[in-house]
């Protein structure tokens, strides 16, 4: 898909999406750890975590089925679903969150007033509030990612689809005067997944890995009946969503 820029040049418009293969996911939490390291996510501490204040941009949702002794444990990694029709944006009174032209729902920390309407509106509960100034164990503050800002107290944050990595890939492609290649943008979670269960790419490109996988008969999206139209697509052999 292309779009005409003002200088008459045709420019490719990307629509970033993610595919997570639940039949491959082992629930190992590597994506969760990689995401925290990449995106400078602070530690809440034991006490605050018990109050549900720990911040996760991606979390593993466990699904327990059956009754003892016939139980089955399954896992669903849940990042921001990057809805095409995001409920969070509609409730923000200050325009601190918006969907950009590449379909990524972004958070403008400097505009956020911390009302948390978006956190409540999100049906996937993937938005997190910074209750305190961010803290890291001593020494770890030297390992912060300079490409990602440290969020102050009192703002909401969420998965950005690693927008810093998208930006870098897009700039590299523009420098070389070519479109971003399939598989060139790799978010931290996708990069680290040891089971190769996660994929990322351009849904506007019908030949991309994510587009191909999204056409699979195993493909479904979370809470599809809400009409949020997420760009995170899950693959599963069974009807996961109905049972979850």
């Amino acid at each position: 898909m292309t779009q005409m820029a003002s200088d008459g040049e045709e420019r490719r418009v990307y629509r970033w999406g993610m595919v997570i293969d639940l039949d491959k996911c082992t629930g190992c939490q590597a994506c969760v750890v990689a995401c925290r390291a990449e995106n400078n996510i602070p530690f809440a501490g034991e006490e605050q975590a018990q109050m549900g204040r720990a911040i996760f941009w991606i979390r593993i949702m466990p699904v327990l089925e059956g009754e003892y002794p016939r139980v089955r444990q399954r896992f669903i990694p849940v990042p921001c679903q990057q809805c095409d029709n995001p409920p969070c944006i509609k409730v923000c009174p200050v325009g601190a969150t918006y969907k950009n032209n590449e379909g990524v729902v972004s958070q403008v920390y400097a505009r956020c007033i911390g009302c948390r309407f978006c956190t409540v509106a999100c049906p996937y509960t993937v938005r997190n509030f910074n209750w305190y100034s961010p803290q890291w164990p001593e020494g770890m503050d030297r390992y912060l990612n300079p490409d990602v800002p440290v969020r102050p107290r009192g703002v909401v944050e969420k998965c950005s689809f690693c927008s810093q990595r998208i930006r870098e890939a897009r700039m590299r492609a523009e420098e070389e005067n070519r479109p971003v290649r399939d598989g060139e943008v790799v978010p931290a979670c996708v990069q680290t997944c040891p089971a190769d269960a996660m994929f990322f790419g351009d849904l506007n490109d019908p030949d991309s890995t994510v587009s191909r996988l999204a056409r699979s008969r195993r493909a479904f999206r979370l809470q599809e009946e809400l009409g949020t139209n997420p760009k995170v697509i899950y693959l599963g052999e069974e009807d996961w969503d109905a049972k979850a």
Binding site: N101, Q164, R167
Partner: protein, 174 residues
């Protein structure tokens, strides 16, 4: 009497405040570099990239290292006493503590290399700093002759909109 005292106090606050604001604003604009460096003299001989060596390869243009200066100033190419300071720094094994004139906010992702590859020249953002004959006369912090620190985003956006470049927040903001 009381009203008069209150009036005097009020006057003092207003005049004092204004005076402080003016003094503070001027202080913020004035930059005294360790060496009285005339850009014009250098740009008539070499290109910007000769001294700002990293500009084509990295996001940052870089301030010149003493070794770069000494490439020319090893010999007494200029009879200026200011140029002699370069050799003094070098003899002491020190870098010249240049003061950065242009600073971006922490949450901005900006690449010099990328913008140069898009066909922009240095002057598009840095104005006529290359023509300064005095040591940065008229070139304050965040360049009075380039983008202003107060409305830097407006300066960037005007160009981005005009050229059809990205205007999405996360295209530049981290």
């Amino acid at each position: 009497m009381r009203e008069f005292a209150a009036f005097l106090l009020g006057l003092l606050i207003i005049v004092g405040g204004a005076g402080y604001a003016v003094a503070y604003a001027n202080k913020a604009e004035e930059v005294v570099q360790p060496i009285r460096f005339p850009h014009a003299k250098h740009t008539s001989l070499v290109s910007c990239q000769t001294c700002h060596t990293q500009v084509n390869d990295t996001p940052h243009a870089g301030l010149p290292k003493i070794a770069t200066c000494m490439g020319c100033h090893q010999a007494d190419v200029s009879k200026s006493p200011e140029a002699a300071k370069v050799r003094q720094y070098s003899d002491r094994g020190e870098e010249v503590p240049w003061i950065r004139l242009y600073e971006l906010a922490d949450d901005i992702s900006f690449s010099h290399r990328f913008h140069l590859k898009q066909g922009l020249d240095c002057q598009a953002c840095h104005g006529a700093i290359g023509e300064s004959t005095q040591w940065n006369t008229g070139f304050g912090k965040n360049g009075t002759n380039g983008p202003s620190g107060r409305d830097l985003m407006g300066f960037c956006l005007a160009c981005h909109q005009g050229r059809g470049a990205a205007t999405d927040c996360v295209a530049c903001h981290k």
